[in-house]
């Protein structure tokens, strides 16, 4: 018996497919860091306005995710990690992804301007432009430094949160930026060490592809050394304190030790145990940022120096 199907047109997207377009997992980091930036700022905000501001920053982040999926659908289809995304799997058309991205960009910037202030809104617009155009369109396919510069887009949210409350930029918000900015390269390069085949297939010039794994391991260790002073410096500003200093010191020692382990390993050792150390380091890097920002929140609650 043969099954007949009258219409086998383009797949119909469910609501969840549009949510997936906004990269909800990336959004969760954006929400958390933006909230911390906003909450620990010296100017108090009405809780409802603060809630709306964080929501619109997250929406802007989601919009840039949709624009990224629109432009990158060709390479997403090749990579195992991203082949199931709504555009390469055919559930959402490229045009729809572009439309959702542009509409939500405009909406989130307008609403953030009305809820908080226009400096924060301009900052959000710049962040969306930076991620969608500077990173996705210009850098990602052309330079192995792609994630270093693109990491700035992920580092802006706590600064936008801070700008929502204060209407400007401060040393503290710049240091929170530095914390995420210098953390991004070791985080993604650790991922690239055990996901290399994906990037090679897609032709994305990751450092592991263009300069080899030896160089990548050296870079990871180098960045952990650059990162540590900025993380510790934050302890001696108006948002820092003894608790944050203790947490940050422990986390940085562990992160540098992990980077050192990665540096000392040869490819044979890594392949022998299935990249165990690299995978552990990648997980550890996720905790690194989360716990730093959590410590800032706790320190704010406890009071500073």
């Amino acid at each position: 018996m043969a099954d007949t199907n009258a219409y086998e047109g383009p797949a119909e997207a469910g609501f969840g497919d549009y949510v997936a377009l906004l990269k909800p997992r990336v959004m969760s980091l954006v929400v958390f860091t933006a909230f911390v930036g906003l909450w620990i700022a010296p100017v108090p905000m009405n809780p409802f306005v603060a809630f709306c501001s964080v929501l619109f920053i997250a929406l802007g982040g989601g919009a840039s995710g949709a624009l990224n999926m629109w432009y990158d659908s060709d390479i997403d289809a090749v990579m195992k990690r991203t082949a199931g995304r709504p555009v390469p799997s055919g559930r959402v058309s490229r045009d729809d992804a572009l439309a959702v991205g542009l509409a939500l960009s405009g909406l989130s910037v307008m609403m953030l301007g009305l809820a908080a202030n226009w400096f924060a809104a301009g900052f959000l617009a710049f962040t969306i432009f930076f991620y969608a155009v500077v990173y996705t369109i210009w850098l990602k396919r052309s330079t192995p430094q792609n994630i270093v510069i693109g990491g700035a887009a992920g580092a802006f949210p706590p600064m936008i949160g801070w700008a929502c409350a204060t209407g400007g930029i401060g040393l503290e918000s710049l240091l929170m930026f530095a914390l995420i900015f210098f953390w991004t390269p070791p985080h993604f390069w650790a991922l690239a060490l055990f996901m290399n085949n994906d990037y090679t297939k897609a032709g994305v010039p990751m450092l592991t592809v263009t300069h080899g794994r030896r160089v990548t391991r050296r870079h990871i260790f180098g960045y952990t050394l650059v990162l540590a002073p900025f993380a510790i410096w934050l302890a001696f500003t108006s948002v820092g304190g003894p608790f944050y200093l203790a947490v940050s010191a422990v986390l940085n020692v562990m992160f540098i030790a992990g980077g050192w382990q990665i540096l000392r390993r040869s490819e044979e050792q890594a392949e022998a145990d299935g990249y165990k150390v690299e995978k552990r380091y990648f997980r550890q890097s996720l905790y690194y940022t989360f716990l730093h920002f959590l410590a800032l929140l706790v320190q704010h609650w406890m009071g500073g120096w």
Binding site: A13, Y18, V49
Partner: protein, 88 residues
């Protein structure tokens, strides 16, 4: 009249999920804007913007305002003005 069987295709399920999702999002958005308005108005934030004519309330305060007349002023022809004229 022929009764056609109503078959629920998977496509209809997806379409419904989209419609309900959009409804929830729109209602939540309306609630959000309403809440923001309430907060902004009760906090007494500056709500007046430029409206094609000068507004006294949004202008900076004049450090040397023009002197006000000392006594009460009544419009000519009104009982108040007549009373002022008749008084010595």
């Amino acid at each position: 009249m022929v009764m056609l069987p109503r078959v629920e295709h998977e496509l209809h399920k997806r379409r419904r999920s989209r419609n309900i999702g959009l409804l929830v999002v729109l209602l939540a958005f309306a609630a959000l804007v309403f809440g923001l308005s309430i907060v902004k108005i009760t906090n007494g934030d500056m709500m007046e913007g430029f409206d094609h004519q000068p507004r006294a309330s949004v202008l900076p305060q004049d450090p040397n305002p023009p002197a006000k007349p000392a006594g009460p002023v009544a419009a000519p022809g009104t009982p108040g003005a007549r009373a002022l004229e008749e008084s010595p």
